[in-house]
């Protein structure tokens, strides 16, 4: 099996994987980073979104081998010790999560959205999260969370 190395959450990691292994499988099964979730099999739900070299990526759409040498950030790598990332904090303050299953992907997508558009309107937030499905919240509080995080991240 091919060898693979990359940086995940700031740490150099390596592993042996079958060539067909998806990035999400490598993260969950090889590295035990189970915060990244699998909610579908058609790359629609966005529960598996991580950052690859700083950009949001559905980790089910990418082979692990394609991330060779990349910098990968998962939900586990966002907080600074006990200090949550402003997006995590905003989700907590605004009840932007219920069952928590879509949340890691939603948070990772939302950070990328704000990185690309530091001052998004409600409509831009809704459009920007179109690739992440949440069944619990009706998105109402997710939209509020992202707007609040954008204000904090921009200040």
């Amino acid at each position: 099996m091919p060898n693979l190395s990359m940086t995940v959450n700031g740490k150099a990691v390596q592993g042996e994987v079958e060539a067909r292994t998806l990035l999400v499988q490598f993260l969950r099964e090889n590295l035990d980073l189970t915060g990244t979730h699998v909610g579908c099999d058609t790359s629609q739900c966005g529960a598996c979104v991580v950052h690859v070299n700083g950009a949001a990526m559905k980790s089910c759409t990418m082979l692990a081998m394609q991330a060779e040498g990349a910098e990968v950030t998962t939900i586990e790598g966002l907080a600074d010790g006990d200090t949550l990332h402003p997006m995590q904090e905003a989700f907590r303050n605004n009840h932007g999560l219920q069952c928590g299953f879509c949340t890691p992907g939603m948070v990772m997508s939302a950070i990328d959205l704000v990185n690309r558009n530091p001052n998004p309107s409600e409509e831009e937030i809704r459009d920007g999260l179109e690739g992440n499905i949440c069944r619990c919240t009706g998105y109402h509080n997710i939209v509020k969370s992202v707007a609040e995080a954008a204000r904090v991240m921009g200040s």
Binding site: G35, T42, H95, E122, C134, G138
Partner: protein
């Protein structure tokens, strides 16, 4: 309150559980791995109806990594039981055909379980499954309910019919007479579209067997672990409770679809015992689409009688409800006791008759989905009321207010069994109108008209029954289980508290809300309170979470246990403070003796209970740990008013919800932030049903909407911001005054959306539209009306 911060009842405390979910540290079933674990793949039927002549597993059994392959021939166990016995109008019990976990000679729906392949890795299990040869005789499938009701192809040969039961409530003769004497009768034909719950976490299970103790353990994505233990242990696998542990860890949403006992749970548990090895199975999303029990799927004809003043005189309802191929756990109760008993709604209709025929078809089972029966009743009522208003040239608000049960008429006995304890439907209506600015609608409509768009306004004034439920009543109606709830309050020696609840949180935030109840009562800070749920080896018993029952039944059980804790603590404190219990007051976590400066903190009492040196040992036992079971006296009756505004582009049929207001009466609110979140989510699912979602089978029983590319889930850009408010009347028969909030959004909202769509299309003469009102359907309705 502790530290001057209100963490008790009524405070929007941020959630205790969020830190772990936001940092990727939640533990969902698929995150669990056991040492030496094997992986399972379930081989499923590609046909909706077929006879199995033989299954050849020779090649598959020899494939790399395969540990075992089992088929129905190997797994001769009990079938999956149905929890609710309905009797037909002629007194005969419903038909309960066997529901084997692995198919026994026949498959009856797409996705039916044919074999389990267990291998060292999932890819090996999948590869081996490809090598299994199943010899099928494909049979004609019956998918349409009307066709199925007429006979022909039978889903279950040996019962000789596809009609599971033919049930009635009310006096048909009285209703027919009232209709005949009515000034006007409004008739409606209505379909409640079939839905797929789509909790974001697919179902999963990890089973284990301990050879040393003979104990089975199953980690599973369920809303009610004790119910699964009871059903699977007693009916399917014959494993006694003390040798069967069910753990529902973090569960990623349920919405009803994770209530039921599923075949995979039994197959995995059984196979773990055979192999004495842990086994993991996780559904792919396409499997979830195929095999999770689906929701709704009613076809109804109804007649509403009215007098000359628009007062309702009678309601007659004929409904066919799809059961799918087998009876799922609660399937039979959904279109009967959770539907027809709600047909009075919030109106004074004096006589009601309903006939419900439950029909088997070659589709996956249908069971409870958020609201379960009550959304179907509400949709019917709120559509027929609007239609009647139009026919009688009455305003849709006017016809409602003329028929509301007045706020001074409670307790109110309906003609369909239920007795409502409290409500104020005018108050929720008025508040919703103010919040929504219905007075400004005409101006908004004119503005839209100027842009070539059609604006519509729709109402739904709904009522539901939840807090399931009084066991005696449920039992009299056919339930085979009690529906109480249990709670245990374990106060530790240093004053921290663990609560064990038989309810289960899969997004509802019990770890916060229940902790608030404890904090309010005992003055213990939230960080010193732990809520334990989901593990049958930790929690004494419970019936789980569905029917908006967690707070209204489980929360009240907790309140009862807290009563016992407080009473015992008071005796301890009275002894140590040398006072009588009558003279003791308990506030903010401190016992004080009235009129003195003598005081004792709750934590000190806890320590005294476990270090009973100076203790009323003749009167009470050491320790501070109390349990309560609570069986409610009645259902609870949330109600409210939802107002929806839609904007339609008549050129394309594209329909956008531009404004939505929900004013609900859910009784006392413990955490307003969490309640609003429940309403948002419910409304989103209701808007999804009304505009986007539908499970569609082709005539051969193939699911055409089997992925997120085909089944239209609401996404962030499909939905508006949702205005939420409450008008509260307290539940009169539970100690917290709470009613439940989990389902109100999904129950109240669909008719508000469709009534808004029809209002927007008034100029075109469109009088009916089916859910989901997709752009294609809206556009077609406009063209048809023009033609």
């Amino acid at each position: 309150m502790p530290d001057g911060i209100n963490t008790g009842i009524g405070a929007s405390v941020t959630r205790v559980e969020d830190y772990r979910f936001l940092t990727g540290q939640g533990t969902y079933t698929d995150d669990i791995n056991r040492p030496g674990q094997a992986y399972a793949y379930i081989l499923r039927s590609p046909h909706a109806h077929a006879r199995i002549n033989g299954i050849d597993t020779t090649a598959a059994g020899a494939a790399d990594g395969v540990v075992a392959i089992y088929t129905g021939a190997d797994m001769q166990t009990g079938g999956l039981p149905c929890g609710w016995l309905i009797h037909s109008r002629d007194g005969s019990p419903m038909h309960e055909p066997p529901h084997p976990p692995l198919a026994q000679g026949k498959v009856r729906c797409l996705g039916d379980q044919v074999a389990i392949v267990i291998a060292d890795s999932l890819s090996q299990a999948k590869a081996a499954a490809e090598l299994i040869e199943v010899d099928y005789d494909v049979l004609p499938a019956v998918v349409d309910m009307k066709a199925a009701a007429g006979g022909g192809t039978l889903v279950h040969d040996d019962i000789g019919t596809n009609v599971c039961y033919d049930w009635v409530i009310g006096e048909e003769g009285d209703v027919d007479a009232a209709l005949a004497g009515s000034a006007h009768v409004t008739e409606i034909d209505i379909v409640n579209n079939r839905l797929i719950a789509n909790a974001m976490e697919p179902r999963a299970a990890v089973s284990d067997f301990d050879r040393a103790t003979g104990e089975y353990t199953l980690y599973t994505t369920t809303q009610n672990p004790h119910v699964i233990r009871l059903l699977m242990g007693a009916f399917v696998l014959s494993i006694p409770e003390h040798k069967l542990r069910i753990v529902a860890p973090d569960v990623g949403g349920g919405f009803g679809s994770k209530i039921f006992h599923y075949a995979e749970e039994a197959i995995l548990t059984w196979a773990a015992g055979k192999l004495a090895r842990p086994i993991k199975w996780t559904a792919e999303r396409s499997e979830s689409f195929m095999t999770d029990a689906q929701g709704r799927d009613h076809v109804t004809t109804a007649k509403l009688g009215l007098d000359a003043n628009g007062k309702f005189t009678a309601l007659k309802v004929e409904t066919m409800a799809n059961m799918g191929a087998y009876l799922s756990t609660f399937a039979s109760s959904v279109p009967t006791y959770l539907y027809a008993t709600l047909l009075a709604g919030c109106y004074t209709t004096p006589v009601i008759f309903a006939n419900v025929k439950a029909i088997f078809t070659n589709t996956v089972p249908v069971d409870a989905y958020r609201g379960a029966g009550r959304p179907e009743a509400t949709y019917l009522l709120e559509r027929i009321v609007n239609k009647a208003a139009k026919e009688m040239n009455l305003d849709p608000v006017e016809i409602r207010t003329r028929n509301f049960i007045p706020s001074d008429a409670f307790p109110y006995q309906t003609p369909v069994a239920l007795q409502y304890d409290s409500g104020d439907y005018m108050a929720t209506l008025k508040r919703a109108q103010e919040l929504h600015d219905t007075a400004g609608f005409a101006a908004r409509r004119a503005e839209a008209e100027a842009r070539g768009k059609k604006l519509g306004l729709g109402y739904s004034t709904y009522l539901e029954a939840c807090g399931i439920a009084p066991s005696a009543v449920a039992g009299a109606l056919g339930a085979r289980a009690g529906l109480y709830e249990s709670a245990e309050v374990r106060v530790h020696p240093t004053g921290s508290v663990t609560i064990f609840t038989g309810t289960h949180s899969h997004g509802q935030g019990h770890e916060t809300t229940f902790a608030q109840l404890v904090s309010e009562r005992l003055g213990v800070p939230l960080e010193n309170i732990e809520i334990s749920h989901g593990d049958t080896n930790r929690v004494q018993f419970g019936m789980g979470t569905y029917g908006s029952r967690s707070l209204a039944v489980g929360g009240v059980a907790l309140d009862k246990a807290l009563d016992k804790i407080e009473a015992k603590a008071k005796k301890i404190a009275a002894h140590i403070l040398e006072a009588s219990t009558e003279d003791l007051e308990f506030n903010d976590g401190n016992f004080t003796v009235a009129g003195t400066d003598k005081a004792m903190a709750f934590g000190e009492v806890a320590l005294a209970a476990y270090v009973p040196h100076n203790y009323p040992i003749d009167e009470i036992e050491p320790g501070l740990d109390e349990q309560a079971f609570y069986d409610p006296a009645n259902f609870t009756y949330p109600g409210g008013c939802h107002i929806c505004e839609v904007e339609i582009d008549p050129a394309t049929g594209v329909t956008e919800v531009t404004k939505f207001t929900a004013v609900d009466d859910v009784g006392r609110v413990i955490n307003p932030m969490i309640v609003a979140g429940q309403v948002h989510g419910g409304v989103a699912q209701g808007i999804g049903q009304a505009l986007l979602e539908e499970a569609i089978y082709d005539p051969e029983g193939q699911l055409l909407t089997g992925s997120y590319m085909d089944y239209c889930m609401p996404r962030a850009d499909n939905l508006p911001s949702i205005q939420v408010a409450h008008e509260t009347t307290l539940c009169t028969h539970n100690s917290l005054g709470v009613k439940g909030c989990g389902e109100v959004g999904a129950i109240g909202s669909p008719p508000a959306v469709i009534n808004a769509v029809l209002d927007a299309l008034t100029d075109f003469g469109v009088e009916d539209i089916a859910m989901p009102a997709t752009p294609a359907r809206v556009w077609q309705a406009i063209q048809d009306a023009k033609a």
